[in-house]
Symmetry: C2
């Protein structure tokens, strides 16, 4: 049994703990967090510790804390030459201190504690300083997910940025649409089949071929009409303008 210790108690740490806990071939050794655990972690009661000196031997230590704390937490670990990885898209592998063997185990997904995810479908982006550790990360990853990729720190930074576009920004566009509908007493519900089809399309076509709409067909009359409708929404008008401009440039 491969022993895994999780350091941190955020959303990623929680879903990672759950996935390891329910995997027959991995053993959740400990979960360390300096401060209190949220109630969701009660199920892992016997594994919890607040004292960094209580950390036991484990085959791998996975640091899953906020981006800006990764290096500090890694530095505070009271041991050397162990395999220590982090789970963060925006932090380089070599931002970890070199006193331990370094690597990255980045699950590319958005997590909320209250929302279940199928961990077996999550792409795991792996990186390690030495070949043996990389093989070991692959072994662990293969027990948790069907999807894994070897991704270096430079690539991972690009993925993290791309994820902001497909998740954070896309969700904000949904919010904009929700607002525009609500202001005319239209339920957001009405747009959901369109949202689903938008995503379904890119399973069959690439995003370049899937594009439709007034900007794609250079329909300046409709664009003008839409901009006029946005007079009372200055930020949404800015969003409309830059996205329209970018689509126009893409297909010019």
């Amino acid at each position: 049994m491969i022993t895994v210790t999780i350091i941190g108690a955020g959303n990623v740490a929680f879903h990672l703990c759950k996935a390891i806990y329910s995997c027959n071939e991995l053993q959740l050794q400990q979960i360390y967090n300096r401060s209190e655990f949220t109630a969701e972690f009660d199920v892992f009661e016997s594994h919890k510790t607040h004292n960094i000196k209580d950390l036991m031997e484990a085959a791998i230590y996975i640091i899953s804390v906020s981006d800006n704390s990764v290096a500090t937490v890694a530095n505070s670990l009271p041991f050397e030459n162990k395999l220590v990885v982090h789970t963060t898209g925006s932090v380089g592998m070599t931002d970890l201190p070199s006193k331990n063997r370094r690597g990255v185990f980045y699950p590319l997904q958005t997590f909320s504690k209250s929302k279940n995810v199928d961990f077996s479908k999550i792409p795991l982006c792996l990186e390690a300083e030495n070949e043996a550790d990389l093989e070991f990360l692959k072994e662990i990853a293969s027990k948790l997910s069907e999807s894994m990729y070897e991704i270096d720190s430079d690539q991972r930074k690009a993925i993290h940025l791309a994820a902001v576009y497909v998740n954070n920004f896309t969700n904000h566009l949904f919010y904009v649409a929700d607002t525009l509908c609500k202001d005319k007493k239209i339920p957001f519900e009405i747009l959901k089949p369109l949202v689903e089809e938008t995503v379904d399309k890119i399973k069959h076509l690439n995003p370049l071929s899937s594009q439709t709409g007034p900007a794609k067909r250079k329909d300046s009359k409709t664009i003008e009409t839409h901009l006029a409708q946005l007079t009372d929404y200055p930020e949404y008008k800015d969003i409309y303008k830059v996205l329209t401009n970018s689509i126009l440039k893409t297909y010019e």
Copy 2:
């Protein structure tokens, strides 16, 4: 049997013809198009006509042509006092000439001829000048879809605009992410589970509660890092800035 004649031969006309054709309670009377039909329409061979004078009696005439041609085509119809509706989000009902009874039958979805859609899930937005015609539109709609809404022209304009955000702009964000990945030799595939989860989340939470990311948590360090990565992508940088700004304003 309710007889329905379709005027036009675009993507919406095609999927509407297919839905009517396969419905036992509606009869596809004719499909009129001034110019040639694409090959996909071959299956409706016996119903096709290019001569507007050949239009027969039908219970309803559905004009499904490009937004800017709706009024012209409606004007050219060689009859009066029939029920004539269009399928366009951005055109008002009263943009149709008053010589016929006017209405709107707007299927809120994105259509490509090569991509099948489940018509029964498409929200049909209905409007008519008189109550009897509205009831008749509801009757037809109920035979084609599980989802229908009474939507006036002002609301429909807002829906059309909102649809640009959730479909056209969202798809363009996917394209931006695709480009950022490709430039680092990362397959776009890796982002698809995240895209799916982004959409799955708004089934359970509203978009305001689903928001995550650096702008939501006011993480200016990560935002600066991302902007620095976008130096070679001026349009994508503009998109990043306005969307980040709009998210910051939403949660301030």
